[in-house]
Amino acid sequence: MSRLEDMPGTRPPEDEPADWGPLSDLPGNPFMWILILSELAVFGAFLMGFAGARLAAPDLFAEAQAQLSRVYGGLNTLVLVTSGWFAALAVRNRAEGAVRRARMWLGAASVLGAVFLAVKVLEYGEKISAGLGLETNTFWTLYWLITGFHALHVVAGIGILALVSWKSSLENLETGTAFWHMVDLIWVLIYPVLYLIR
């Protein structure tokens, strides 16, 4: 025992997880939780900004919101919470060693992600046809920024689900589906603020 790192208690064993401090208490990869906190902060600021802008022009926001499909938005919420259920089932199956079934549930979650995007494309098409663009007014600027940024996260999420379906260790699945649930969580916050409250 000539070197310091070979002495007992000075180097963690190879199979012991790294110590992330308080982040080690969170399930899955701590990096994903840092991302989830950051995304919540960014979208939270967006939604608080939206509420502030609405306070300054309530009539304009009410008239603009009436041109959104509240039913499409609700349908998409149901699609994403169902997709989140399927992603959680994938992790449950992977934890039990059922890799093929886990991949099947990840595939089902991704298909619903694609359904969400298809509904969004329909909605965006209607708005563009009606001439409601990024520069129409404050409501539509915030609408396009918030929902567009979220839709990009859905696209990224489908890619991540495909990646963890391929490299399907339990930690990868837990981490990849955490991103998906974050996308779901943020939409659950966006829907009432943009589509329902007036």
């Binding site: 009410a62 919470v81 259920w85 449950r92 649930h181 329902l196 409250i197």
Partner: protein, 102 residues
């Protein structure tokens, strides 16, 4: 944190959570569309807005605790994420209530 199979929510817990999230989503829509007009510009009552945001906060909590499995973490983390959600819905509700004042 290393997790074993028994640390993940059961299939039954996941199914119940999904049913709750779907039901609360329909409940939020029904509250907002209570006048039967999907394109209404009429302002909602403060109680309707408070109910929609309370349902939203509860949905967010369920996603965090069950889908994201935060229930297996420490109380401090659960409080932090809950505070994040409550801050967002609180500012939105405050903004709505202030509309008649400013």
């Amino acid at each position: 944190m290393q997790t074993a199979a028994h640390d993940f929510p059961s299939r039954r817990a996941l199914a119940l959570t999904w049913a709750l999230l779907a039901g609360l989503t329909v409940g939020s829509m029904a509250t907002a569309l209570a006048d039967g007009d999907a394109t209404s510009t009429a302002a909602l009552a403060g109680t309707q807005v408070a109910l929609i945001l309370a349902l939203t906060a509860f949905k967010a909590r369920q996603i965090l605790h069950v889908y994201l499995n935060l229930r297996t973490s420490t109380g401090g983390w659960r409080v932090l994420f809950t505070a994040f959600v409550l801050a967002i819905v609180g500012v939105v509700l405050g903004g709505h209530l202030l509309m008649g004042v400013v």
